[in-house]
Symmetry: C2
Subunit: 274 residues, 2 copies
């Protein structure tokens, strides 16, 4: 009678020693950090996992500090709709987060929690990997929420010719414009109401329109000019209706997962305090 | 330029759709439910994972209801030292838990959380799988905590000749004895202070002594009579000092993981409400 004979079968990827990370959002099914960021941990030989944590909005203020107090949980990623609300639970903010007042990645340090915003840098890096130029280009950004405003700030630092920000919440669009004008005083940035697509070089959807809904599209058109580069930060479906239309129109496209992919090294470095 | 070319690498075992389960304890490194119960989920084709959740005692009362409110978390396993404290967060208790007033497995149902105690049934099943008889046997149980008292109740239902319960907390040992005498009035159960090992058939360690400490042993002896069957519910190290001594003495031994292994089907059935 061997020891192994009576041993239950096990999976190799989780144990009592695995360090916990989570991504907090509402809804949660669309997030891709669990599969991608966990892969980055494992590739580095770190015994850690990123799990989806679905928190409903009316319970966020109570659950967030409790989740942060789980003793073997070392960090969190924050997604829609919590990138602004999560910032005030931080003891300190990184340089991007100090500008945007939003956070996307939170790390538990000896001196307390620190939050930083990686969406903007990730978006710019994804565009660069695809060879989409930003400098001197005319860019339109759909959505001025947590991700959108961070992307706007990161784009501004790359000196585009102009940036137009469109959000059905016009007060939010104006606030994002003001924030960018303060950070980059000579920058041509304005809130827009409609777009002349022929006068644009790059279009970025940073709104959740299209998330978990392959029929929804943030633009009410059926065709795009083929010179336009189109990025959609929505993670699921992988190919949103906007990107499908862009592909059919002959545009260069950049997928939402690429924004996450291009920031994986930076995010895990931040978690590991490197 | 293919879509895949720019896709980050991913792990296959966690995604935004994976349903969450956790094991709550203090300490947490020793738990084995993450690897074993997750395997049982996966073997049934269920996209779910059991993660370790380390909650320190002074934060338990605040964190427990918050963790239970995570919207994609469907169940919890409870280990040392929370098997009694967790019971009062339940809307209802299963039949074993109603006797012991302790819980080891908690499931979120439409009508609220229900808790049940599987340790006792799991211990008896593990002994049976190893061919260790209980009926008419003289049994000693070390430890009258959440797991120990549940194991005592489950043993009592199998009609042993006698049961001696030993715990340095003598009030706790007496309470466990009283609980069993009420449930099984004619049963020969008593709290013990010392053991005559030659007059015993089965010895079960249900205390945490030896957990994460391969030098600690709940018995201050160097040898055991070879006729004795010895079980240790400690999960880590796999082979505790007590079990090593038992093996060296020629005793039949039963490992802690076998208690978990023998209840996997029942636990996942309970989670799935089958």
């Amino acid at each position: 009678m061997t020891r192994e004979e009576f041993s239950p079968l096990s999976v190799p990827y989780i144990s009592g020693r695995t360090r916990l990370y989570g991504i907090v959002g509402h809804p949660i099914e669309q997030v891709r950090s669990p599969e991608f960021v966990t892969h980055e941990f494992v590739a580095r030989g770190i015994d850690a996992i990123v799990v989806p944590i679905h928190v409903v909005p009316e319970r966020f203020d109570e659950l967030m500090p409790a989740i942060m107090d789980i003793a073997n949980l070392d960090g969190l990623i924050v997604t829609v709709p919590y990138k602004a609300r999560a910032a005030r639970f931080m003891a300190s903010l990184g340089p991007q987060a100090r500008i945007t007042r939003t956070v996307s990645v939170l790390a538990k340090r000896a001196e307390g929690w620190i939050g930083e915003m990686f969406d903007g840098v990730g978006c710019v890096a994804a565009l660069r990997r695809r060879g989409v130029a930003i400098k001197d280009k005319r860019i339109a950004l759909l959505g001025a929420g947590g991700a959108g405003s961070a992307i706007g700030v990161a784009l501004a630092s790359q000196a585009p010719r102009s940036l137009r920000i469109i959000d059905p919440d016009t007060a939010r669009a104006s606030a994002a414009v003001n924030q960018m004008q303060q950070a980059f005083p000579s920058f041509d940035v304005a809130a827009g109401e409609s777009l002349d697509l022929d006068q644009l070089d790059v279009l970025i959807n940073a709104s959740p329109v299209g998330m978990l809904d392959p029929t929804a599209c943030p633009l009410q058109v059926n065709h795009l000019p083929p010179h336009l580069a189109v990025m959609d930060i929505v993670m699921k479906p992988d190919e949103t209706r906007l990107l499908r239309m862009a592909l059919e129109s002959g545009c260069k496209v950049v997928y939402g997962r690429e924004m996450l992919g291009s920031q994986l090294t930076a995010v895990v470095d931040f978690f590991m305090d490197r």
